[in-house]
């Protein structure tokens, strides 16, 4: 309770004196200013709780980033060099069985590996080594083969190595 008594003239929402109020309002008297005050105070409380929840979310992301950064990624045998033709590519899954990737061997013999998911909406990219690019057929996006940099179309993040 704030203040001891309702202040005069503020007890009814239309500010008219008690004698002019309809009977139902006298039967169910609500101290409107007090009600407003409590509503605002409770909103502040609720928002501070929300604020706490957001910090918990940030802590969760930070904890995840710690776990993700821990340890070197496992090594995995994919193929021998001879199994990939010059200017050719093979697919493999890394690090999990549902993470498709591409291993490319360019015409000059350089080996490159990329995640196969387009950084736009996760369609599978197709290697087009003759044009030095990875092509995404969904929205005609393309990435540079040498660096993974987006070259054209909607993707704006590089293709992951």
């Amino acid at each position: 309770m704030i203040g001891d008594q309702p202040e005069p003239g503020t007890r009814f929402p239309d500010s008219r004196p008690e004698s002019e109020q309809p009977p139902w309002r006298l039967d169910f008297p609500i101290d409107v200013p007090q009600d407003n005050y409590i509503a605002r105070r409770d909103s502040v409380k609720f928002l501070v709780l929300t604020s706490f929840a957001f910090v918990v979310g940030q802590i969760w992301i930070a904890a995840k980033s710690l776990v993700r950064g821990r340890g070197a990624p496992p090594s995995q045998r994919i193929a021998t060099v001879d199994e990939i033709p010059l200017g050719g590519a093979i697919g493999f899954n890394y690090p999990g069985p549902t993470d498709p990737c591409l291993l490319l061997r360019t015409a000059d013999g350089t080996l490159l590996a990329y995640g196969q998911k387009c950084t736009h909406l996760s369609c599978a990219v197709v290697p087009e080594l003759e044009h030095d690019r990875l092509h995404c057929p969904c929205h005609v996006g393309s990435f540079d083969v040498a660096t993974g940099r987006p070259l054209a179309g909607p993707p704006d993040a590089p293709c992951p190595w």
């Binding site: 704030i2 200013p33 604020s51």
Partner: protein, 75 residues
């Protein structure tokens, strides 16, 4: 001696506090979505500064809430 606030004044103050808390919470929401976006994109550099900023916002909010309660207990 300082005169205590009237109820109307207190309501106005709490309204002001509510606006400030709301702005801070919106800032935190933006921070959370931006951090999540960066994190999922493989960029972890922003994670700790964003956590610190969000924590500062929470502390400010908690301070404002404390002020509201202090306001009531002095009436």
């Amino acid at each position: 001696m300082k005169r205590p606030f009237t109820r109307d004044q207190k309501t106005t103050i709490v309204y002001g506090v509510l606006c400030m808390v709301l702005i801070l919470v919106v800032l935190q929401l933006w921070l959370l979505t931006a951090t999540m976006n960066a994190f999922l994109g493989g960029d972890v550099a922003v994670v700790w500064p964003a956590l610190a900023a969000s924590l500062v916002c929470l502390l400010l909010n908690a301070g404002l809430l404390r002020y509201v309660y202090a306001l009531e207990s002095h009436s």
